[in-house]
Symmetry: C5
């Protein structure tokens, strides 16, 4: 895939390599999972698998850029986030929909908020907006999604449902709260303070992506499996 | 996939990257959807998924051209349109066929009109026709398809059917009316006025493609899902 | 896939691009179709899908050769024909077998004739045979296949069967009669007369391949679908 | 895939191109076949499909080497044989297992013999062994496999079974007897006599591989199909 | 895939080629196996197939590095191990879970131990830790996993279960005991003693990976098959 020699001491290269293979492998696992989960679990499992696949494609690209140039900008990351983060939010909506009826408006509002959350960060990064304004608006949209997750109709539908759904929803919400907090923090360090896309920022972003994406997908898959086996 | 470094401020590169990952990801989603929709929904869902896949292949190619040369012509877009737009028209026909019997002649007429619509635009762009004549003929074929969609037997079959089909048909017809209007408009700017394939034209074409393709597919998938869940 | 910039006025490049995307897209469609056709239709549908896939791989290769060298010989076309044309003949046999019992000897005879038909043309083109002798022998094998299709046991089995099979068989036989006639004609122009593999020959071969392959596959798929929906 | 222009008169290039497309196309066909054969036929069909797929990957590689360097050694062939020939022997075992109980020890012995058969040839070719000794040992292991096929418990289990299995087993055994005889013969010409990996040796190896692999897989698939349709 | 000419006497190149084709072929086999194993066997079979697939991607990359540079470091191996070894441990857990209830805590502890086992080896190799300390810690985590396998609740659940599960568990545990012992041994030779990533180390690592991965997956698949056929 990359065809470039690197040393173990080159932590960034190793982390990009691991991220590519790990996201693609778990994407395959989630898509295979589709064949054994119950019918009503298929939509959230498929969405979380597609999010992993899109992220895997993005890391394949990011790793190739890094291996051939030993440089990285934040631009390829936005290619991933624009697709992955709205899909992840949609996957939580469909998880909650299994538990009980949730108005379809919630879906449109949260997915739109996720797209706007990435867009504001992107416009700030691209210099079209003021970066600080961009990240603050982005945080606002993120808080809106969290508000829907904690106090909206999804939360209510889940509360009355079976234990696997309740547990899965609880953990995914936690990851969207704590795990996603690293994105605005790193944005501040990278763009607002101006540290640039340094090696430590790259590794932290990659680790955050890996943990957030893989755990969310595996939680959805595990919750779906618990109902069956 | 592309292996080329670019900055966030490079909006064209970002939009090509997002278009590639987004179309491929939603193509996978639509094809996965085939395994959970009802039998009679399979043909329109498969067609909209294949349209997305063809578009994803085309954007993969367009993005690679852009990343390696920082230039773009309209030629690769026709490679996509020749395949995608007839498939999309066919997918609407099969959506209407679920609602009730539609004469098979409508299928041949609308698909032929879609191929001719792209062909006339292409011949104008390639300088084989007069560009203005090409785009006017193209608009005529587009209006013919719209006529079939609004007043033809498809519209009648849908009118008496279930709500998800009616709603899905309504929204897709709207996208084929408003969303497809951008193609002749941009053709005028690009070829007839002669602004060339400028950066803003590229981004607008890409956004139009993304919104038109992804929403049509997701509407078909959602309509198919509503009957089931 | 190709990563090479070209203009709309470059008709050969556009036709290779369209051929690649169109064959791969319809191959996916035919293979997806396998999941919804009735059991006894699976073999002909699978064969026509695999023929499209092999043709798509061949066009991917032919297009890459063209985009990087702006030249083409007939050699890559034989790579496609050696695989595609015997598979298409086999697909017609299995279509007829749905209608009623056809002796298995017909299968071996027609597939062998299809391989020999391509082989004779190839040996003539490669200069191992006299080209005129090669194409005449090739025509003889083609006429043998047509004889089997019009007067052999396949034709008889089909005559007594359901309308979709009769119609499908009729159209495919017509394409194998009229559509395949272009191959010896272009061979005469290209090799015997010695016009070489000119641009117009390339575009005509590509259009013939596209129409022949895609219509045959779609007819098989449509006939299979008519029995079901 | 290869992106290199070649002439029809270049028989080696054409044969590599045909081998790649033909093995990949029949691999897809065999894997699709999995969805319509009866349950107990799935293991031999899957194994023969995977053998074709591994061979296809190997030919894709061999063809790329040939197209870019116009040279070939026997080394890439061993990459294919190490994987393909043990899988083919395993596929015959599972074919016989459908007919009746065969002790699992036969499986381990024949697969080990197939690996050793390739290994001895490889060690002779690589100069680690005396080449003549290598090929003689390789022939010994091949004769052992044939012994198992003609006089072992597999043969006995098949004798009492249905006609499709008996016929399939008969033909595959014949191919493993006659078709596989070409490998030690060509090894003698290539390594022991020292003719080198000449053009005619390459074409003969490729034709042998094509006929052996594709017919074995198609026989397994046909035998599986005859029980069903 | 690699497109590089090499001689049979080049054992490293041949071993990388064989490793790539063999892991990808058996990965396809394991994933196909999913369609015929019983429902409750799907998770361990899928996990062992995904481990093979991840390993195949890693070898594709390692082989390309080797073919283009004729050099290898241990870094690309860690890319494989970070993904493959935790997945293999998870696959053993789910195998034991079929036999009877195993507390989910065992899963988290053994998977975490597998990740830490690779991480300690990696940190030692990268020079962030003292290499000797790294490998000793790695051995400690490996012994912990073995302890769970021999004396933990998994072992107990398996003891009371059917023969295929007992046999499969026994063999996989043996491979994780003997086969995995080669990793710290080679680490000592490679890093602590400082022999470097020599040709013999590369071939031994590759053979160990091949045998460990393929046998574990085939054992899981065979155990799953024995319950069915």
């Amino acid at each position: 895939m990359f065809g470039t020699l690197f040393q173990s001491s080159d932590v960034v290269s190793t982390s990009f390599g691991v991220a590519t293979v790990a996201t693609l492998a778990t994407a395959v696992l989630a898509l295979l999972g589709l064949s054994w989960v119950a019918d009503r679990w298929r939509v959230p499992v498929a969405l979380s698998g597609v999010a992993l696949l899109a992220s895997g494609l993005h890391y394949l690209d990011a790793a190739q850029i890094w291996f051939s140039t030993q440089q990285m900008t934040s631009a390829p990351r936005y290619v991933g986030w624009f697709v992955v983060q709205p899909i992840q939010v949609a996957s939580v909506f469909f998880l909650a929909r299994i538990a009980g009826p949730v108005p379809v408006g919630v879906f449109w509002r949260t997915v739109a908020a996720a797209i706007l959350m990435v867009l504001c960060r992107y416009l700030g990064d691209a210099g079209i907006f003021n970066p600080t304004l961009g990240v603050l608006l982005s945080i606002a949209f993120w808080l809106y999604i969290l508000g829907e997750l904690y106090f909206g109709p999804m939360s209510e539908a889940v509360r009355k449902s079976s234990r696997p759904i309740r547990l899965g929803y609880f953990w995914i919400r936690l990851i969207l709260t704590i795990g996603w907090a690293i994105y605005p923090i790193l944005f501040f360090v990278d763009v607002v303070i101006g540290a640039g896309h340094a090696r430590s920022v790259i590794v932290l972003y990659t680790l955050a992506d890996l943990v957030n994406l893989i755990t969310v997908s595996m939680i959805v898959l595990a919750a779906a499996g618990k109902e069956r086996f």
